[in-house]
Amino acid sequence: MDDSILSNVYILGGIAFVAATVLYLVSKKFAVRTDEMVIKIAEALPQANCGACGKAGCADFATACARSDESSFANLYCPVGGAAVMQKIASLKGYAATDRAPSVAVLRCQGNCKNAPVKVEYDAVSSCRIANRISSGQSGCPDGCLHLGDCVKACKFGALTFNKETGMPEVDTRKCVSCGACVKVCPRGLFEIRKQSQAGGMVYVACRNKQKGAVARKNCSKACIGCMKCSKINEVIKVENSLSYIPPELDADTFGKELAENCPTGAIIYKERIHD
């Protein structure tokens, strides 16, 4: 009886020992050599794996950084980590750190239940991309927010919350790392990653409706009607398909206030300080 237990222990122990030796030898022989630089850079990264940098994830970004030369390094930027992380990586590499103005996601629609009243009820799946396929939405605006919150589900940083009173998602600018997940997921392309001005301000057109002025106004009181007033204040602003777009290069500190005050429908939003 004792013998059979002991023999089992010896046999199994023997198998385990042989297997461990083989595994050890194989792992030595076929070890993947990783660049130490990659490991160091990866440690410095936030490890959010969000893909905001344009790479497949943090490991991919670290590899790209390690392999980059001085000129291609200037094109790499981790928006989640921001300037601090890039500084760390740059010092590891011995290059100059790339500096970019801080940016934030903005929602270019003001079609909440007050501005754009509900005309038809939607009772199908609570998903923007399904609703977008079925109809133009509850307010009738074919380019406006669908109020179903695909963007809120997509945000990995908790920067988007759904305001039940207005029926619109809201961006917490302090939490937003401008990864662009909301830009990709919105079926109507309502989000945009915009750079802040030097004083930390921002000016943008909060409307994407390309319908003619009168038609757009019927569905939403804060729609852009393409009146061209903003383009007269600064020529950089282009009005196409009766929709104005303020390019991010425009200095918000200088023109922002004037633009917002002169917009007849209030479609242009100017914030002196984005975090306030």
Partner: protein, 440 residues
């Protein structure tokens, strides 16, 4: 007993709700303005041939087919073109539409308006197809695929059988049923015209067993003509689907990704066949169609002969108007149709019905979690696994994975969502998966 044909896989049995079976087709009032979309078919929008201020007659060409997969659009009224601009359609999205202000009712001279049934066909195949093309005929069952492309047989392929689809398996709709009862001879002549165009002598009119009058009339008439037969199909949804119908009538399974012509079949809706008859033998372009206005919220359900471009609201008005009980308005059948967002949207070549539905049987209930019962897979006539497709979509799986599940072969019949005990809107997910696959 006669043998009844059907397809073997999946399918469901629905309540008929065909309250308008005995309502004769009546002419709907011509509204003050009609708005005619330039894209009422699959393919590229037609090129606009008129300009603002032009006077048009009934049957005047408004827009010309742009390319092969496109279709002509004709005026359905006489009057003046007042607007050519983007207007919201039934889904609320804008489409290019031509608005015509109605003045009188004068028709183009070459349209034969007499009631007599024309029985002589002396045209060649090419002439017939040219006439179908210039009449702007598209598939009137709902898809809107241009008919001339279907009737032009590609080289090295051969047509063996023309199936005239008189199934109309959706609840409520009776437009095709009424055409078969009232215009039986014309339908048979239309089938003969198509027979000639295809160079065959084998047309089968497939009718659902729940249409006894149509079966009786067409069976009696078809005995007088060579090359036209009637076959009775079992009542089962979606018997009227192209693949299901081919399987039922010929016994052949349509391979995935193939067109019916690849196995020698051509399927045309009864409405389309009637339009072909009128176009070829009466010189009448497609500018009016039969529409069923029905539903449990409709006061006076009826079948109307409607000019294309008539606003939906005008038809609802004629059927007794709306009241607060109406919860949802659907264009098409209750299974495959879409909810209407905008009541000023026009009736198009593919509108088979307008349904006013009350809250209850036809509205969506709150969805709960999948209990893995597999009912959806049992009901799917395409043999798919809707629950797996739903999972793939909601987990944002790769397109490759959706393709492996054959989501692209979904016929959007809605059986899966109908049978689901958890009320999961499976069809919506399948449609998204289809869209993702098509995008790639």
């Amino acid at each position: 007993m006669i043998k009844k044909f059907t397809f073997p896989m999946g399918g469901i049995h629905l309540a008929k709700h065909k309250v308008t079976t005995d309502c004769p087709i009546s002419n709907a009032d011509i509204p003050e303005f009609v708005t005619i979309p330039v894209k009422q078919h699959i393919g590229s929008p037609a090129k606009i041939m008129v300009s603002k201020g032009d006077k048009v007659k009934v049957g005047t060409l408004l827009a010309d087919a742009d390319g092969i997969v496109s279709s002509d659009v004709h005026s359905s009224v006489s009057g003046e073109v007042v607007k050519i601009e983007d207007l919201p359609g039934a889904s609320g999205y804008e489409e290019k539409m031509i608005t015509v202000k109605v003045e009188g009712d004068s028709w183009e001279e070459d349209i034969d308006r007499s009631e007599d049934v024309e029985k002589e066909i002396n045209l060649t195949s090419e002439e017939i197809i040219a006439k179908i093309r210039s009449a702007g005929i598209v598939g009137m069952g709902g898809a809107g695929y241009p008919t001339p492309i279907k009737t032009t047989i590609p080289e090295n392929k051969k047509a063996n059988i023309l199936i005239v689809n008189g199934i109309e398996c959706e609840p409520f709709l009776t437009a095709d049923d009424r055409i078969m009862v009232e215009k039986a001879e014309q339908v048979i002549m239309g089938a003969r015209v198509l027979n000639r165009a295809l160079g065959i002598q084998n047309a089968v009119i497939a009718i659902d067993e729940n249409k006894p009058r149509a079966i009786e009339i067409l069976t009696a008439l078809s005995k007088l003509y060579v090359g036209v037969n009637v076959k009775v199909c079992k009542t089962k949804y979606p018997q009227g689907g192209e693949k299901q119908l081919i399987r039922a009538i010929t016994g052949q399974e349509l391979p995935l990704g193939k067109l019916p012509i690849d196995i020698g079949c051509i399927v045309q809706n009864v409405g389309t066949v009637f339009a072909v008859y009128e176009a070829v033998l009466k010189n009448k372009p497609l500018f009016e169609r039969v529409v069923t206005v029905s539903g449990d919220g409709c006061k006076h359900p009826c079948n109307y002969l409607v000019r294309i471009g008539t606003p939906i609201s005008s038809l609802i008005e004629q059927s007794g108007g709306l009241d607060e009980n109406v919860h949802k308005i659907v264009m098409g059948g209750p299974m495959m149709g879409n909810a209407v967002v905008n009541l000023s949207a026009p009736v198009t070549k593919t509108t088979s019905g307008i349904l006013l539905l009350q809250d209850g049987e036809f509205t969506k209930k709150e969805a709960s979690s999948c209990i893995r019962c597999g009912k959806c897979a049992q009901a799917c006539p395409a043999g798919l696994r809707p629950f797996a497709i739903k999972q793939a979509v909601s987990f944002n799986d790769t397109v490759e994975h959706m393709r492996k599940l054959h989501a692209g072969d979904c016929i959007e019949c809605g059986c899966c969502a109908y049978v689901c005990p958890a009320n999961i809107p499976l069809l919506d997910y399948c449609k998204i998966a289809k869209q993702e696959i098509r995008k790639k």
